[in-house]
Symmetry: none
Subunit: 190 residues, 4 copies
């Protein structure tokens, strides 16, 4: 057997890291961060406890990776053209996309909401959150300003707050929450 090449090692690492992150996300979402032990994750992922520490230096770091990995979609989605003007259709598309993400990644969003408000987690990720958050605000303020709206900053913040509120209520009650109607109302409100 020829020794594995550097690329092969790299690939193994990637596969394992993804496996662990995915497993951890599910367990964190179902049982909460504190009630999920490294052992739980390791055995659910079919690897040993010790190996976890080959990839993540601590449970906290694993959590960070889990959160950030879930954020990727989100960030990808945000890559709007950095222009000086912004059209209504873009905002509508953004809102729509948001709702789609929510519906398609309930797992991740449950985790996101269950963790984002735990002080420890928030502290861990506040920087990353802030960056995204401020980009968004900036765009929305720009939009409202262009529209000539009153209190554009307050409106922007209210819109984002509303998104989170909807997310929480939807995830707490997926069966009955009238998401599609609420989506329409939100867009009308613009």
């Amino acid at each position: 057997m020829a020794p594995r090449t550097e690329e092969q090692f790299e690939e193994i690492r990637n596969i394992k890291v993804n496996l662990i992150v995915k497993t951890a996300m599910e367990l964190f979402a179902i049982n909460g961060y504190d009630s999920t032990s490294i052992s739980n994750i390791a055995s659910a992922a079919g690897i040993s406890k010790g190996l976890m520490y080959n990839y993540f230096s601590s449970k906290d770091e694993l959590l960070k990776k889990v959160m950030l990995s879930g954020m990727e979609n989100f960030m990808l989605f945000l890559e709007v053209k950095d222009v000086d003007s912004i059209k209504k259709e873009e905002i509508v598309a953004f809102i729509d996309g948001n709702f789609n993400l929510l519906q398609e990644n309930t797992e991740y969003y449950k985790l996101y909401f269950s963790l984002a408000f735990q002080p420890k987690v928030f502290a861990l990720l506040s920087t990353e959150f802030m960056v995204i958050f401020e980009q968004l605000i900036e765009k929305l303020v720009l939009y409202y300003t262009q529209k000539g709206a009153d209190k554009p900053y307050a409106k922007a913040r209210l819109l984002l707050a509303t998104f989170d509120g909807i997310g929480i209520h939807y995830l707490s009650d997926i069966e009955y929450f009238p998401l599609d109607d609420v989506r329409k109302l939100t867009i009308e409100m613009l």
Copy 2:
């Protein structure tokens, strides 16, 4: 040398229960439920660990009492006249009252939001929450129906979701969140 009277005991107990609930609420809000130990609470309250169990049979029960104690204001506030019609001013008053509560009880609301999405906590309190929640929905649906609005149920749910969203964003960023402007916007939106 005579034993204390029942009233004296009662008073001691009340003082201690309040002290413990207050201390626990603060620590839960700051550090989260799981990261706050009974030891932390006891020493912050200046009592012994053992005494905690004289008043609360478990950490879970303490949490429950903490949450319910905080809910009292809220419930009091909700005692609207049970009529068949509801006026706009009542809804405005309700929204206004809500914002005031939020500003005046940031401590409790931080706890509320940080805990409400932990599965364990939710399970513990879901019944109590549901009752309040459904009362609210009912009233708001009534309001929108009277107003002849389209999709009254979706609107009611959106409004409550928006409140929670605002709550979260405000509490995560008390300093910069434009609460008063947002309050006005919310009322206008009715």
Copy 3:
């Protein structure tokens, strides 16, 4: 109200002591010594925890009193005339009496057996046990010697051992253990 006389106090004390001992015996028998707390006993007896310590300086001492109080019947029963000769009828009466005690005080004997073999308890009471035990042995040895039996000491000890064995098996299986037949066999065996 005239102050209580010394005798009245004495009587109160006696009533309370008996109440506590009786209650403790029941709880110890049902749940075991370690699993019965002073609180349990106090509340079952309808008194306060603190008062317990007015009558018994410690839980260990309470146990001791409980055991000794139960032994009283037993000891009373043993008061055979201290003579130099002993008749078969006396031994038979003794055995018979023993069986009767067993049947009439199952509660106490359960406790006795469940506790007597716990090292802590045995240590606590070994002196008291020994005294009784040696009196018995002495008498039985005398009986077997008079009878001209071989190995009178071994026979005496075997007889006492057999009693305990019967007691244990009977109490572990009151429903099915053929106590009356065994009683007859034991007496025949003399």
Copy 4:
């Protein structure tokens, strides 16, 4: 650098399990179950508290294993040929074997007797005990029946009760109890 093989792990585990069971048995026998803490056992065995739980999921389970491990000799010994007739020599051999076991495993029997009457323990092991017990009874009844004895069931139960009685008295007073003489008497009594 390669991980240990499964066999190596297996060996480590066996050594540790045996060490823990042995240590626990001694301490349980000396101090009783409730008065022996996991800490006591761990430090007597020279391992950490945490490691205990790698091998036994609870103190109760440890007790169970300790009892069952001690029972093994016993059960091995009981494997008499399942025939329809049973000879006196077999019973004698059985009794003899019993006495030998008692002398050779005083540690285990002390534990057995100190625990068998604690309700909790009995509940934990009653099934296992019952099986053995009923096998024994069956054999002895068969023996007495073949012999044409009167009341074979009562005799069988008396014999087993006597064994336990002897066990208890011997273990409470190993130095002076005339075990060999009692053994002879027991055999003669058949």
